[in-house]
């Protein structure tokens, strides 16, 4: 899958996966970014991994997912008030 036709050999799927995280963060070098984008246009499996990782980051970064327990904030501030009053 890493050697499809083109002007130059495509980088391997392994290389693409290894650089996926930095690509998602916008930290890939311009050269690597170009290689990744070229690869993604032609490789369905790497595109599936890229696209699903991107979607995963959107949902896990949503504040509604990891909610603190009900009453957590009130209990924390009451505890601090009570303890600091004794200090």
């Amino acid at each position: 899958m890493g050697t499809l036709e083109g002007d130059e050999p495509m980088v391997s799927c392994k290389t693409i996966i290894a650089h996926l995280s930095e690509y998602l963060d916008g930290d890939a070098t311009p050269e690597m970014r170009q290689k990744i984008e070229k690869h993604l246009r032609r490789c369905h499996r790497c595109t599936a991994v890229y696209d699903s990782t991107r979607k995963m980051l959107v949902i896990t970064g949503d504040e509604r997912v990891f909610q603190i327990p009900a009453g957590f904030s009130e209990r924390l501030h009451s505890f601090l008030d009570a303890t600091l009053a004794k200090m």
Binding site: M1, L4, K14, I17, A18, L20, S21, E22, L24, R41, R42, C43, H44, R45, T47, A48, V49, D51, S52, T53, K55, M56, L57, V58, I59, T60, G61, D62, E63, R64, V65, F66, Q67, I68, P69, F72, S73, R75, L76, H77, F79, L80, T83, L84, M87
Partner: protein, 225 residues
């Protein structure tokens, strides 16, 4: 539930370094305002270490007290966030040691370290369906995400929570965990791929015809899509 917009508005009213100086000068009641923006992050970080909501809540209460007591030791007021999260991290680990969970942790940590150098190979290649923004309102979706997080090995879970849940940058994450920035990037990469792998069965598009599935496996046809 904390409203982040309110927190931001509050922060704009009184800049954090000024808030810290006023607390140190004796205005103790302002400590509540100082920590309010970090409560959720502190809880999730403590949870990522303890994997128990009650324990995490107790550890955060103690950590916040430690933050108050040691506030005068903070070298750089601009780095309060990283410093405070470091205190939370330490407190949660201390709590875990008290609970004797370290007996299991030491075994896990060594196997996790050895796995770190190896490249992670995805096994699930199904396309994910488009997810509407309210998908996270579904209880089963939230539970699946918590479960996927629970199943990450410790060293990956902490990095994932700091970077992708709390949105700290790489340098801040490295400071909280006292590891190098390349180590943060390596662990985060692995954590993301593992999270994606765990959640793929839940979010994969329903399987189509045999032709569709075969087409997905074939790079020549995929390239022509």
């Amino acid at each position: 539930m904390i409203l982040p917009m309110d927190d931001k508005a509050e922060q704009e009213k009184t800049p954090e370094p000024l808030l810290i100086r006023r607390i140190l000068a004796g205005e103790r009641e302002l400590f509540h305002d100082l920590i309010r923006p970090y409560e959720r992050g502190a809880f999730i970080l403590a949870y990522s270490i303890l994997r128990n909501r009650e324990d995490a809540e107790e550890a955060v209460q103690q950590a916040m007290l430690n933050i108050f007591s040691r506030l005068s030791q903070l070298d750089d007021v601009e780095r309060f966030k990283q410093w405070a999260m470091r205190v939370v991290e330490n407190e949660a680990k201390m709590y875990r040691r008290k609970r004797r969970q370290h007996l299991y942790e030491s075994i896990d940590a060594s196997s996790q370290d050895s796995a770190e150098g190896k490249a992670f190979r995805p096994r699930q290649f199904a396309d994910w369906r488009d997810l509407p923004s309210d998908v996270v309102e579904q209880t089963e979706v939230r539970q699946a995400i918590w479960k996927a997080l629970d199943e990450l090995p410790d060293i990956y879970r902490e990095v994932f929570v700091l970077r992708d849940v709390q949105h700290l940058d790489v340098a801040e994450t490295a400071q909280v965990l006292e590891i190098s920035e390349p180590a943060v990037k390596t662990r985060l990469h692995r954590a993301r791929l593992m999270m994606r792998e765990s959640l793929t069965p839940m979010f994969a598009k329903p399987k189509g015809s045999i032709w569709e599935r075969w087409k997905g496996m074939n790079p020549w046809l995929a390239a022509k899509r």
